[in-house]
Symmetry: C2
Subunit: 485 residues, 2 copies
């Protein structure tokens, strides 16, 4: 039942923004703006007695004053005005309300919690379903609903339900810079009506969603949650980030979404037991989402690493090992092949491949990638661009050439062998020239890297800022598929 | 004795590059180029019978053919040519030789190891000291010596000795983008003559060096090393990254610098026991260097966090707690002050400060930073720019304004209170517009962030890409000062 109701709410024919505004620093402006900016095709009704029109739409003094039907309402008014609004929603036959409105139970105040319960009672009376309160609501780019600026306008295969709105919005933005796209994202705050289980149930059956991401601070019904999580992970990968595991985090969740957070250990164990993949922070959440988005199933942990120079290779090997990958020595028959090809240092080259010793040996770094990719002893590959070293050991011309050629070589490896292949390239900050004139020429380096990143992502290669983060993600993807079979 | 000899080698009046070349993809070109590019003021003698001149310098067929004295030689010739070169160095009274030349004992071959010993014998016969072999040599920007492109030309207070050359060079570049500058960096590879202890001894007495960074894969004499390390850490912070801790890493170090790596646990314990600060990978090495560079002593672990929105605040709290910082509740007298000032939600605002609830409360996020900075219960502060969320929840105008104003506010906090203050701002990758037209406007966002970063760094604020990395660094800096007193 909740699934069908949510489906209807996610595909509204008309949206009213109550508390809409022409003040660009208000949320009532933002939500109206997003309907335009993301191309919502249905009717848009700004509601505010203070304006004749907002962003080109006729503005209405109240919901009652709107002539047509209203499927979905976004509430930006103060908490005290919500009951009256709910009454009007009932009269207008509204299906769903997103309560951006906050300052209910999360404030820790009894009157606010009572008001929240009154809102729920009014919704139930009229058969209205609620998203929130205290949340950013819906990002559904396919129909033109959004809760943020600078989010992708195209769709993808990640569905997300999140108790944090800002975190979800920032996450969508950052993940999109790594090539990820989303089906539906719902920030649901205090979970007064629809809760985490309803959203999971929805994503389980949603064909557009192939990977589920969940940020929870607390759950309403632990048994139902774990049972739903198990069904979800049987259907598709579910990545879970849990806010409020520690002492201070638990204190924070109460004031954030009025959740009672459980202990970290119990949570972590239960989530893993259910087959879901836990993430510890937003960076790992992005890495894992990128991994499930782009990687084929990882069936083993024996990794071949193209490691950069000597020291970086050593550290890369250790990062992989500490993450639980097996950095195997080069197989004997591979060495035999290298020897037969006349490679001068067939007995010296190792895994990770130290590219600084390979010049003039008769093999290139890419030759080594091909050999490892086609050898059945390697379950996955990590290709380390090592651009942070290359920028200092190559002339600018060679750096530029490498940034142009190396992505093509990497893409060939992916396309020819279909083996899980993770690419490491830093997300380096660039200093403005005002700070240091010696690095003023930096712009073009950054642009060359951005182009290389773009090319790799367009070809469906997952990018990670460090070997450590690539390795940690790969290990978790491997564990997911191992537990599944 | 080694210290004085090294001091002389680091301040040569003349440098010969043996194996110099006009081929821009050769190392003989690079080292000659760097002498010009970094402004070396002494005599430069390219040596190569195949060229009349290189980069405007007269080129000599041999060292013998050079008319003047030669203090320092950079060797780019093949290993087999080194003995003859050493004989000529002896004749010319050369003080020091940097053997960029590789393929000695690190190849694992007996003839190569024997050749290495022959080179050492020849050096000892003539009183010549050696850096290397198999290394990048010297970066000493004050006198115009460099081993890399795109490194800062100005000096700073970090001295580094490193068994990895590429890693050291990349590290200098990346750390410089975070505001760090270096006194002297020596990549020393196989440590045939000068070893890690000689370099430590040098940095202990070097007034220009206030922080020491060490990358080691193996040490020649464990007892001497720990004794030297203890003396070094008594004098200044020493950050140590150890290559070859794990199984595969140990295998790699043998082929990299012919080092026999010890076990991780023994190493880690010994290094900590000596008072040094261990780093696990290059990212942490950069974070720790930035921390010791910019932070005043951290005397306690009670942290105040400006955390971004709700979810990010929760995760920030947990990252701090897991790193070993104490995210204390707001002190009672601070709440009293907030109440007295008429802050409407004085009982709701918490630590970390959730900036999403603070609007209209009578307090700003910066007011909260001031309150925490001046309160004696807080030993350090973390200010989270949270630009990844802001970019999606603010209009572009407000984002732009914030990127202009917030750095000034942060700098005031640093200057007024002098408390350890770590700033979190992501090093986000930016996608080229070819990949996604929806994010084509990204350039100016990135530029605004680069300007903000530049302003913060110019004012001496340490920047970290994530709260987790800031917190982990702060904890290690705290431990360093706690162990010292």
């Amino acid at each position: 039942m909740s699934v069908q109701e949510l489906e209807a709410i996610l595909h509204p024919r008309s949206v009213a923004v109550v508390g809409a505004s022409a003040n660009t620093s208000s949320w009532g402006y933002s939500f109206t703006h997003h309907l335009v900016d993301y191309g919502f095709k249905g009717q848009v009704y700004p509601v505010n007695p203070g304006y004749p029109e907002i962003l080109g739409f006729k503005c209405y003094p109240s919901l009652r004053a709107i002539p047509g039907t209203i499927d979905f309402v976004i509430s930006c008014v103060n908490a005290s005005q919500v009951p009256q609004m709910m009454v009007e929603c009932g009269e207008k036959g509204v299906k769903g309300v997103h309560l951006y409105t906050a300052r209910f139970s999360e404030t820790g105040r009894k009157d606010a919690a009572d008001l929240e319960q009154e809102v729920l009672r009014l919704a139930r009376n009229s058969g209205i379903r609620l998203i929130g309160p205290n949340c950013m609501g819906v990002y559904h780019p396919r129909v033109g609903l959004s809760f943020g600026y600078n989010l992708p306008k195209d769709s993808g295969k990640v569905g997300m339900a999140s108790q944090t709105g800002g975190g979800a919005s920032g996450f969508v933005h950052l993940a999109s810079l790594r090539g990820v796209r989303f089906s539906k994202v719902i920030s649901y705050g205090n979970a007064l009506d629809f809760n985490e289980c309803d959203y999971l149930d929805y994503f389980i059956q949603d064909a557009e969603t192939q990977i589920i991401v969940l940020y929870v601070e607390g759950v309403k019904d632990g048994r139902r949650f774990l049972e739903t999580l198990k069904r979800a992970t049987a259907a598709k990968p579910v990545i879970v980030i849990k806010g409020g595991r520690g002492k201070s985090g638990a204190r924070m969740t109460t004031s954030h979404t009025a959740s009672i957070a459980g202990s970290f250990n119990a949570w972590d164990a239960a989530v893993k037991q259910a087959g879901a993949v836990p993430a510890k922070d937003f960076e790992e959440l992005i890495d894992l989402t990128v991994s499930f988005y782009f990687l084929p199933p990882v069936r083993g942990n024996r990794v071949g690493v193209l490691g950069g120079g000597g020291g970086p290779s050593v550290i890369a090997a250790e990062s992989c090992e500490e993450a639980g990958l097996d950095v195997i020595p080069l197989p004997r028959d591979m060495r035999d092949e290298m020897k037969a090809r006349g490679v001068t240092i067939w007995d010296w080259i190792s895994n990770p491949v130290d590219v600084s010793i390979i010049g003039g040996s008769g093999m290139t770094d890419i030759d080594m990638l091909h050999l490892m990719a086609k050898h059945h002893d390697f379950d996955l590959l990590i290709g380390n661009f090592n651009e942070w070293v290359m920028i200092t050991l190559s002339t600018d011309d060679r750096f530029s050439t490498s940034m142009k050629m190396q992505p093509k070589n990497y893409i060939t490896i992916k396309e020819r062998y279909g083996k899980p292949f993770l690419v490491v390239m830093g997300e380096r900050g660039v200093v403005s020239s005002q700070f240091t004139s010696t690095l003023a020429a930096d712009d073009w380096h950054w642009k060359a890297m951005a182009e290389a990143r773009g090319e790799l992502m367009a070809a469906g290669l997952p990018l990670y800022p460090t070997v450590e983060r690539a390795a940690r993600s790969a290990r978790k993807v491997f564990e997911y598929y191992r537990n599944k079979t």
